[in-house]
């Protein structure tokens, strides 16, 4: 069973992603803030991280920077509503494998993206 970490401060969104991913057979852990995310990735190993960018205090970019400096190689998919090129470029520079704008994709499309990186 592949383990996915969902980092999303919008609780209903985190829940629906988790529900959908569980329904197709993945194990998910959900955290609602940057702080919790940093805490859990230092303890547990995941196969994939779905990461929101805009969060209070520690945001997604900081988490990506932390992953880089601490050498954690877990693939990260960014799920954000930031659609500006500069944000996408910034995230890609920090090593994310995929980036999608939440409002532009359906849950099914989201699942397909996840599957792509967990083959």
């Amino acid at each position: 069973m592949k383990k996915i970490l969902i980092v999303e401060d919008e609780k209903p969104l985190a829940r629906v992603m988790s529900l959908k991913l569980n329904s197709v057979g993945y194990t998910t852990t959900t955290v609602f803030s940057g702080e919790e995310a940093l805490a859990i990735i230092s303890k547990e190993v995941f196969d994939l991280i779905i990461l929101d960018l805009i969060m209070p205090k520690i945001d997604g970019f900081s988490i990506l920077a932390h992953l880089n400096t601490s050498g954690i190689k877990t693939p990260v998919i960014v799920a954000s509503n930031l659609s500006q090129n500069e944000d996408i470029e910034k995230a890609k520079k920090l090593g994310v494998v995929d980036y999608f704008v939440k409002s532009d994709v359906t849950l099914v499309e989201m699942v397909n993206k996840v599957k792509q990186y967990l083959q």
Binding site: V16, L82, Q84, K102, S103
Partner: protein, 574 residues
């Protein structure tokens, strides 16, 4: 050229100087003419008086055998011509020997080298002024005021002169008259010049003053322009700065004049300045760009700058004119606007995503959320509306990016027909629902061109969406592509409700919606065509349409075969 004197004042100073020079020249010339004419007159008066008295002289009077007789004759002659002005008289015989003089010490002496005598002996009347040597027995102050006349004497019955009478006269009286005449004439000249200057000034005021005033007015406008304006010489040394330049840079006029613009510049990379100098100095063209400068207080500011070389007839640079506009505030506003748009779109998108995804869960749900048909239909409606909302948020974002000019154009080599086909297939559901007959006609001869596929997609989507929305069920739509000169022509033709003639000119205006469209209550906010036109305009293409209300509309777009121009920016359209 750029000091505080007004042009008008300067012109007047110049004109009065010219008039003063003219008056001086006139006075000097008249003085010369007066002097020579008075001297000439007294010279001829003296000559005729002496000649008159000498006319009865006989050759015998020179008889050397009887010096007493000679002396008597000439004494009597001397008595006749003697006046208060006569200082000296000499009578020469042909051998240059003085045979008579009131100064007895020179009688009997020969002066063979006297040029005036030689000249006079040929029959000429010779005159000279103030040339006497001190050896002559005459007081010193009289030297300068002497008129010396050599008068040839021809005895009765002879043809050529046999002697010369030399006479010196004081010119005091003549000089006095010359002085008086000069004063009167100079006064007349000064008066004349002043009157002429007065007249000139009046004419000048009437005819030229207005022109000068206009130039002055322009200078005032330049001084008070809200943009920073400086003028430098061809080496970049500042000659003029306006008030805005003082305000913008924080340096005073006196600190800037004589200095160089690097006083507040130097903040940009070396290459920037190299390019700038190349443009204005080598290519002799205007340079435009955004530049960061530093005020006197150390604060940096962003400016839109334009530097133009001023060329003379021979195409040499004489001046540079530099204009700067402080865009720091605009940049801040721009940034604030971008941040606002990004924030709003993010804040709107998050709840919309939640709605969309939960509705999706409901519709795709397993046993736990199994919906009956009515429920399913209602949820589908809600889902559609919510998706439209996402589209709207994206459209608003795109419009703001277009307006801020921050969107990127990333041209790639693309096959336009493929893009059009994809867009048509995206609308398959709506086309089938409305039972529309859609035909596609793509000329295979159309080459692949470099264009931004995203932009072309947005353009095609908007046009096709309009055609579908505004064509009643069972209508026809035709999408076509062909070459047209140096362009590629895309046409979307429908048999829809058309655009009312009177509203056709407004169709590309943001938020504009035609009356017949409002009446039908078709969804839309009037951004599609505005956005489409903006994109087409940016890519160097054209957009236009033909429409008849009730019959249909055809939209045409051309894109140059040479392709879209790349544009750097920060945001791509979605």
């Amino acid at each position: 050229m750029f000091n505080r004197f007004s042009l008008f004042t300067k012109f007047l100073i110049l004109a009065s100087t010219l008039f003063a020079i003219l008056a001086t020249v006139l006075i000097l010339t008249s003085n010369f003419i007066i002097k020579s004419s008075f001297i000439n007159r007294s010279k001829s008066a003296v000559a005729s008086a002496v000649s008159f008295e000498a006319k009865d002289l006989q050759a015998e009077d020179f008889s050397l055998t009887d010096p007493e007789h000679t002396k008597e004759v000439f004494n009597s002659f001397y008595e006749r011509v003697k006046t208060a002005e006569l200082l000296r008289i000499k009578v020469w015989d042909y051998s240059a020997k003085v045979i008579f003089s009131d100064d007895e010490s020179i009688v009997g002496k020969r002066f063979p080298d006297n040029d005036e005598f030689k000249e006079a002996l040929k029959g000429e009347l010779v005159t000279e002024i103030g040339q006497k040597t001190k050896s002559e027995n005459i007081s010193e102050q009289d030297y300068e005021r002497l008129l010396e006349v050599y008068i040839p004497i021809t005895f009765k019955g002879e043809n050529i002169p046999s002697g010369v009478i030399e006479a010196y006269f004081k010119l005091d009286n003549v000089n006095e008259r010359i002085r008086e005449t000069r004063i009167i004439l100079s006064a007349a000249i000064v008066t004349f010049t002043m009157v002429s200057f007065g007249l000139f000034f009046m004419v000048f005021r009437l005819i030229i003053y207005k022109q000068i005033e206009k130039i002055n007015l322009q200078a005032v406008a330049l001084d008070n322009a809200s943009d920073h304006v400086i003028i430098t010489d061809s080496d970049g040394v500042i000659l003029y700065v306006n008030e805005a330049a003082e305000r913008l840079t924080g340096y005073s006029r006196s600190e800037m004049i004589g200095n160089r613009p690097s006083l507040w510049g130097k903040q940009m990379p070396k290459e920037f300045y190299e390019k700038m100098w190349r443009t204005i100095k080598t290519d002799k063209k205007a340079f435009e760009g955004q530049i960061t400068n530093r005020r006197k207080n150390g604060e940096e500011y962003a400016a839109e700058t334009k530097i133009s070389p001023v060329l003379d007839k021979n195409n040499n640079i004489t001046f540079f004119v530099g204009i700067e506009r402080d865009i720091t505030k605009e940049k801040e506003i721009d940034r604030a606007k971008t941040e606002f748009v990004s924030l709003v779109s993010h804040q709107l998108s998050t709840p919309l995503t939640t709605i969309n995804w939960y509705l999706e869960m409901l519709l795709s749900g397993g046993e736990k959320t199994k919906l009956n048909n009515d429920q399913k239909e209602y949820v589908e409606e809600a889902s559609l509306a919510s998706k439209r909302m996402v589209g709207l948020v994206n459209a608003l974002l795109n419009v703001s990016r277009i307006e801020m000019g921050t969107f990127i154009v990333e041209p790639k080599l693309i096959n336009i027909a493929e893009i059009l086909k994809t867009v048509v297939s995206e609308f398959e559901h709506q086309i089938n629902e409305k039972k529309l007959e859609v035909t596609q006609e793509y000329d295979p001869a159309v080459p692949n061109i470099t264009a931004d596929p995203k932009h072309l997609g947005i353009v095609a989507q908007n046009l096709l969406e309009n055609a579908i929305n505004y064509t009643p069920s069972g209508g026809k739509i035709k999408v076509s592509l062909k070459g047209r000169g140096s362009d590629i022509l895309i046409a979307v033709e429908d048999t829809g409700i058309g655009i009312p003639k009177i509203q056709q000119p407004k169709i590309f205006i943001k938020m504009f919606r035609a009356d017949n469209v409002r009446a039908k209550q078709v969804n839309g906010i009037g951004l599609g065509l505005y956005m489409t036109k903006s994109i087409v305009d940016h890519s160097g293409g054209k957009i236009w349409f033909e429409s008849e209300e009730g019959k249909g509309t055809t939209f045409y777009i051309t894109i140059p075969i040479s392709g879209m121009k790349a544009k750097e920016g920060t945001k791509s359209l979605t």
